[in-house]
């Protein structure tokens, strides 16, 4: 691989040809603010927060997320000019934004808030027209408040490029541009599968997970890594737990599922605290279910299966396993039927 040497803020770095300035900076721990960049997705180069100064470029301040590295390039990521440009961009965003941080779900994890803090933008010095939209809350899991949207386009790209659904896209032009569904019908009336990838990536509070609303800010929750119990893919996820209650689910990137989840893994956790949930085995005695220990229950099942096998032969028993179990569990299941029970009557609900 051909390597390229460049200097960023006085530090030498060597990266493969074809890398971007942002990637090179990340390699040596230099932070460049980004709002529309996500390494798994195509480039939008839309927010312009990542602008940097490149020596010799008198024309403009290029976006680090898109600027390819060049041999001998000298980059400055934090000059007064760069900071002034970023401040101005933040001011422009804030001028068109409801500063609702007090009640906003994104408070504490919002990148706009974070950068405004870092660049000292308290409010915008621009007054004037602000976009007005009604909140789209038809979907049971996702709420969209477009007044907070900064049009980074991450939701549009993840929906298309990762989920393959393309339920949302840009419409209108200029100041009126917005992200919307086909014919503005709202998420509930769109092909959206409620996977919530968009909610996770939204850098601000424009997209919220409805079941988590009001239940805890990002900094209040403990993120407990776990494996989704719904299917054999075994997606890794982070249960957001506050005071021993699950209040939401967020991505755990850098796993085999790259953090992405489906509607069940992301939103289907309410059963955990359901009062109807079984917590011990039940055995029917005199027509009534009564609580029993695992030993009692397993003994009973073993005894009954043995009886059927002895009286009617092993082929009188069949096993059907679930797609929610893992490969290893399925392996053990068929082994048990073939070797212990002695039948080939074994099937799986996902056998297509």
């Amino acid at each position: 691989m051909k390597m390229v040497n460049l200097t960023i803020d006085g530090c030498q770095v060597e990266v493969p040809l074809g890398s971007t300035v942002l990637e090179a900076a990340q390699k040596i721990g230099i932070e460049i603010p980004t709002l529309c960049y996500e390494k798994d997705l195509s480039l939008a180069t839309a927010c312009r927060m990542c602008v940097v100064e490149v020596e010799g470029n008198k024309k403009n301040l290029p976006a680090a997320c898109a600027q390819p590295v060049m041999e001998g390039m000298i980059v400055h990521t934090n000059t007064p000019k760069v900071r002034e440009a970023r401040r101005m961009i933040l001011e422009l965003m804030v001028a068109n934004h409801p500063l609702d941080c007090l009640t906003c779900e994104a408070n504490g994890r919002c990148k706009l808030q974070q950068y405004c803090y870092e660049y000292g933008v308290k409010e915008s010095s621009f007054t004037g027209e602000r976009r007005r939209f009604t909140v789209d809350d038809g979907n049971p899991f996702i709420e969209r408040d477009l007044e907070k949207c900064i049009l980074c386009g991450l939701c549009v790209r993840v929906c298309d490029e990762v989920q393959g659904v393309a339920a949302i896209d840009y419409s209108d032009r200029g100041f009126d541009t917005k992200v919307t569904t086909f014919m503005d019908r709202g998420l509930a009336d769109s092909p959206c599968v409620s996977c919530g990838q968009c909610v996770y990536l939204c850098p601000v509070g424009a997209l919220t997970a409805k079941p988590s609303k009001g239940k805890g800010r990002d900094f209040e929750v403990e993120k407990v890594p776990t494996t989704c119990g719904y299917c054999g893919v075994g997606c890794q996820l982070a249960l957001n737990v506050k005071k021993d209650k699950i209040v939401g689910v967020t991505n755990l990137p850098d796993n085999h599922n790259q953090g992405y989840l489906c509607v069940k893994g992301r939103f289907g956790y309410d059963f955990v605290d359901s009062p109807e949930r079984l917590t011990t085995p039940l055995i029917k005695r005199d027509g009534e279910f009564v609580e029993a220990s695992w030993d009692e229950a397993l003994d009973l099942v073993a005894q009954k299966m043995a009886k059927v096998r002895d009286e009617h032969g092993p082929d009188a028993i069949a096993g059907l396993s679930s797609a929610r179990t893992t490969n290893e569990e399925n392996y053990l299941f068929q082994k048990f039927f073939r070797a212990v029970i002695g039948t080939n009557n074994i099937d799986h609900c996902a056998r297509l």
Binding site: L61, M93, R173
Partner: protein, 597 residues
């Protein structure tokens, strides 16, 4: 071949068509028939002559007599005088505004004398719907030369040597661009003609396509051969129906003669073209947005690199050029790079077509050698300011360009000089403004355009143009402070520095240049609450001139706020505190006694 004794050229460009040239043409047919001249005189419908303002235009050859503003009623007299009696019909000749002299010949009119019509050489001379007429003017000779005698490398070298630069705005050297696309790895390559022409008021590309479509096709064929492409697109705005119709006819005729399609002129070279009609978004003229639009996606620009030469249409190496750039190619190949090099300046070779509009006496399409002083375009070709008012500014480059003032009148019109003055060559819009133009108002006008045309993708352009526009609105109402001017300048500079595509990067130019050359005018609005040009309504007051007022009470009766008082038959007065500046009184006054001041 039929032999005729005279040709009557009737302009069929969009300008003349809208001033009634079709009816004139029909009247000519009728009259010739009536006089029994239809066998010896031939009528030819041509493309645009550029002098649309004087249309409908009729030129009679072999003399080359130039008649303007010809109406249907003039036809019997014209035919009788010129074609039967052999006398020039004086009253339809062009009158030189300066000398009041009637000028019979095309070439002697000031408007044409200073021009160098290379790209437009066929516009107005040939029938654009007949390939034979193009061929008769050495059309497709350059293609034959290229296919017969030149390697693709030779072609690229020749274009490089000519110094031709892109006419779509940025002025990138065309030969260099072709070289990149030729070197880019890949079997499949595309060539694209950018005929989006979205600048308000510009019609250079439209006139070329309407008047000489084959020269664009020939240029594209040559370019395709040079870079190794077999397929191309012309992206033309759907608002150009006549251009599209003529392109389609030209394509069909070229295919029929084996000049387009497989094995062109019996060689191995194969190439064909699609015409894609764009829906008329200005941003779709930006090359990456244009290609997204051809692919059927939303016309939004993307970051470059990768440049189209490496990854363009459907990710394939693509060479995109402007209509006028393509239209230069055949001339260069036919006459050689050296011949081309005699026009223009050291770094800006050749000619440039401009749409000259605004407050000049002669408006229209003009082709001038690069490097010509701005003054010559305005005062010699344009014949000076309308109504002999004072020159104030000239806006060059459309909404992406800048406003230059009196001090820049002697500036050479070439890429470098314009750039250093804060303007750009652009695609060729040239709007002249007189003393009655308010520069704050002009900046507002251009921002209205870019605000609506921004694609909305990147923050500085989407949000920033809106805020600049709002600040200008405040200034035009006398609001704001002098510090706000610096703030506006800083905002404009940030947008220029950080926007994703050329639209946002250039949209602040009208603001920055007016601030640079006309800052005092901004200050007058803010500090003195006065619009020196008398344009910004909020700073004007309605006033009844007592000497003219007859006391008819008409104004007082229509005023919705009761701001006007006065006794019958006595002069009335407007209370500026109550007046909401609706203008109803001014319309109602039959004695012109209400003025704005």
């Amino acid at each position: 071949m039929e032999l005729v004794r005279a040709h009557i050229l009737v302009c069929g460009g969009t300008g003349c068509t809208s001033s009634g040239s079709k009816a004139v043409q029909e009247a000519l047919h009728r009259e010739l028939k009536k006089q029994g001249l239809d066998k010896e005189v031939k009528i030819v419908e041509t493309g645009c002559h550029g002098f649309c303002e004087q249309g409908p235009l009729v030129i009679v050859y072999p003399e080359g007599t130039f008649y303007c503003q010809v109406q249907v009623e003039d036809i019997p007299e014209l035919v009788e005088e010129h074609l039967l009696k052999g006398r020039i019909l004086q009253r339809l000749l062009f009158t030189e505004p300066l000398t009041q002299e009637r000028v019979p010949h095309y070439k002697e009119i000031d408007f044409y004398r200073k021009q160098r019509r290379l790209v437009l050489r066929n516009c107005g001379y040939i029938d654009p719907e007949k390939i034979d007429e193009y061929i008769a003017r050495d059309g497709y000779v350059a293609l034959a030369k290229v296919l017969g005698e030149m390697t693709p490398e030779d072609v690229i070298e020749e274009i490089k040597a000519s110094g031709l630069r892109g006419r779509g705005g940025a002025g990138f050297p065309t030969g260099l661009k072709w070289g990149f696309a030729a070197q880019a790895p890949g079997e499949k390559k595309y060539v694209v003609c950018n005929a989006d022409e979205g600048d308000p008021g510009a019609f250079m590309d439209r006139s070329i396509l309407e008047g000489d479509p084959h020269c664009v096709l020939e240029g594209m064929l040559i370019g395709a051969y040079a870079i190794g492409s077999d397929e191309g697109y012309i992206y033309a705005r759907a608002e150009y129906p006549l251009a599209i119709k003529r392109l389609k006819i030209a394509l069909a005729q070229a295919r029929e003669l084996g000049l387009m399609g497989d094995n062109i002129l019996g060689t191995d070279f194969c190439f064909d073209l699609h015409i894609k009609e764009g829906a008329g978004a200005f941003v779709c003229g930006e090359e990456t947005a244009l290609m997204a639009s051809i692919e059927g996606q939303r016309g939004m620009p993307r970051s470059r690199p990768p440049f189209p030469a490496n990854s363009g249409l459907w990710g394939k190496p693509t060479n995109i050029n402007n209509v006028e750039t393509w239209a230069n190619v055949a001339n260069i190949i036919r006459n050689g790079a050296k011949w081309y090099g005699q026009f223009g300046t050291e770094k800006s070779k050749g000619t440039k077509v401009f749409a000259l509009t605004g407050k000049v006496k002669n408006t229209g399409l003009v082709e001038v050698p690069m490097g010509i002083p701005m003054r010559e375009i305005i005062y010699e070709i344009g014949d000076g300011i309308l109504g002999d008012k004072k020159f104030k500014a000239v806006q060059i480059g459309g909404p992406s360009g800048g406003c230059l003032s009196e001090g820049q009148l002697d500036l050479a019109v070439d890429y470098e000089s314009l750039g250093s003055a804060g303007a750009i060559m652009g695609s060729g819009g040239l709007v002249v403004m007189d003393e009655e133009t308010c520069m704050v108002d002009v900046a507002k006008f251009f921002l209205d355009f870019t605000r609506a045309e921004s694609c909305g993708k990147c923050t500085p352009c989407r949000e920033g143009i809106q805020r600049m526009r709002e600040m200008l609105q405040d200034f035009s109402e006398g609001k704001g402070s002098l510090e706000d001017l610096d703030k506006l300048e800083r905002l404009a500079q940030t947008i220029k520095d950080t926007a994703l595509c050329g639209l946002g990067q250039t949209a602040p130019n009208p603001v920055l240049t007016t601030l640079r050359y006309f800052r005092d005018e901004y200050e007058a609005h803010i500090r003195d609450k006065r619009c020196p040009a008398g344009v910004c309504r909020a700073l004007l007051t309605y006033y009844i001139v007592p000497e003219l007022c007859r006391g008819c009470t008409a104004c007082a009766r229509v005023c919705p706020t009761g701001a006007i008082t006065g006794k019958v038959k006595e002069p009335h007065v407007i209370d500026p505190e109550k007046c909401i500046k609706c203008g109803a009184c001014m319309e109602a006054c039959r004695f012109d006694s209400i003025i704005l001041k």
